[in-house]
Amino acid sequence: MYIELYYHTSLILFISGWVGFVIIKTLIEIIPL
């Protein structure tokens, strides 16, 4: 099976920023400051 995934740079920007934000937010909630 062959799958082509078309993407745009803005999509990478959005997803990476979103995932990064979720990770950072999770870390902030987990680690008590």
Binding site: M1, Y2, I3, E4, L5, Y6, Y7, H8, T9, S10, L11, L13, F14, G17, W18, V19, F21, K25
Partner: protein, 435 residues
């Protein structure tokens, strides 16, 4: 490869687990999430975004399944996603020698003025004074180089055979390649015409040559000598008409259609050895676009000049002096040669006023998740039931970058890539600030 195994669970998590958790927390339907995205509230934004991510993932995973993997080397640049017949900028905006035809009788339309307004020169009259301030010295027009080679002649640029194709350097329009600038008995030239206009004629692309001899005496006078001009290797990408004429009364014309070639077209004429002097020749190439863009466009002709001494191989009668100077007389066949008046020229060949963005796709980067077999031979061994092995085929996944291009509105280019990136950034900031 390792990043694939890291990112795949994240992708699954985004596409499946998060919407599931959100459904538990109140996000019920996809339509509801779309509605929330259109009219967001502080509490609903997170719900809608997660559902939109689900839609996005489904869209991402559902493209082009079961397509045979092309065994091709990826092209190094972006290429159009959908090949369409786009109008080419095939007109030239050269100003004619003098006023464009129709001057004074036709009111130019705005589009013609946009391209060719500089070609209109005011004429002094009783009503409209000339724009030239008094005392202005009009520069003399540049003279066409004549005579024998000297250092003031324009430098010729070499044209490699790659210039034969259009995409190498679109700026190459007229060039001539000469192997040698020294005096020699024969000379090879290469000329390739790549016109900008759909119809264009170039003449006088080379200067003239000169034949002489340093006779050894009267014994050699009277021999019939000859000069051979071999216009070999004519190739036409379009309708090309090659016309040759010179001062000695020789003329020749040949027309080739698209893709046709002709070799060894020899012009051979004789002269007596007492001839000493020079004569001019004109080679005209008339090109007409046939709209075929399969390979290239334009006309190409190879030169091969050779002097011959018939009946005698006298080494002292063998020199043709090739003039390095060349000049071109552009023909006023562009749209500026004639004024397009009001109500005319709606179908301009150059449509740079409005153009839709052209989506380009780049090199794909692929990875494969290897297939594997589930052996079932043990079923027969244990239970006596024969079953074929289960083969899980491998999955080839290719990521293909996209470029949206720019939208051209009335000459104003709007970069769609920049807008998409800005919207992504704004949406990201909105998520961060509202959560």
């Amino acid at each position: 490869m390792i990043w694939i195994y890291i990112s795949l669970p994240i992708l699954l998590w985004l596409c499946l687990l998060l919407p599931y958790n959100l459904k538990r927390s109140g996000c019920v339907s996809v339509l509801q999430s779309v509605y929330y995205a259109v009219i967001p509230t502080k509490k609903r934004v997170q719900c809608s975004l997660f559902y939109l991510s689900l839609l996005f993932c489904l869209l991402l995973l559902g493209i082009n399944q079961d397509v045979v993997l092309a065994d091709e080397t990826p092209t190094p640049t972006f290429y159009p996603l959908y090949v369409t017949q786009t109008p080419s900028n095939s007109d030239n905006y050269n100003c004619p020698d003098g006023q464009p035809s129709g001057f004074g009788t036709v009111t130019p339309n705005p589009q013609w003025l946009l391209h060719c307004g500089q070609c209109l020169t005011p004429e002094p009259s009783d009503y409209w004074p000339t724009d030239e301030p008094s005392g202005t010295v009009t520069p003399e027009p540049t003279e066409v180089p004549e005579g024998f080679p000297d250092d003031d002649l324009p430098t010729l640029r070499s044209v490699a055979s790659e210039a034969y194709y259009k995409d190498d350097n679109p700026s190459i329009i007229y060039e001539i390649f000469l192997e040698d600038t020294e005096f020699r008995s024969d000379h090879d030239g290469y000329y390739y015409m790549q016109p900008e206009a759909a119809t264009e004629t170039v003449q006088n692309i080379a200067g003239y040559y000169y034949a002489y001899h340093e006779g050894r005496g009267s014994a050699y006078e009277g021999f019939v000598q000859s000069i051979r001009v071999n216009l070999g290797g004519m190739v036409a990408f379009g309708d090309c008409t090659f016309t040759w004429s010179d001062d000695l009364g020789n003329s020749w014309e040949h027309t080739l259609g698209y893709g046709q070639t002709q070799y060894e077209t020899i012009m051979d004429w004789s002269m007596v050895s007492t001839f000493e002097g020079e004569f001019n020749y004109v080679l005209e190439i008339h090109y007409e676009d046939t709209g075929n863009r399969l390979f290239s466009e334009g006309c190409k002709v190879d030169f091969d000049y050779t002097s011959r001494a018939t009946g005698d191989n006298s080494e002292n009668w063998n020199t043709i002096i090739w003039n390095r100077g060349y000049y071109q007389v552009p023909q006023d066949v562009g749209m500026c040669a004639e004024i397009n008046g009001e109500g005319e020229g709606e179908e301009l060949p150059d449509d740079d006023i409005f153009s839709l963005p052209e989506i380009l796709v780049g090199n794909m980067s692929c990875f494969s998740i290897g297939g594997f077999n589930i052996p079932l031979g043990w079923l027969e061994t244990l239970f006596g039931v024969s079953a074929e092995n289960i083969a899980i085929p491998s999955i080839e996944i290719c990521f293909v970058p996209l470029i949206f291009g720019s939208l051209n509105l009335f000459g104003l280019g709007i970069n769609m890539d920049l807008i998409a990136s800005a919207m992504a950034g704004i949406l990201l900031i909105r998520i961060i600030t509202r959560s």
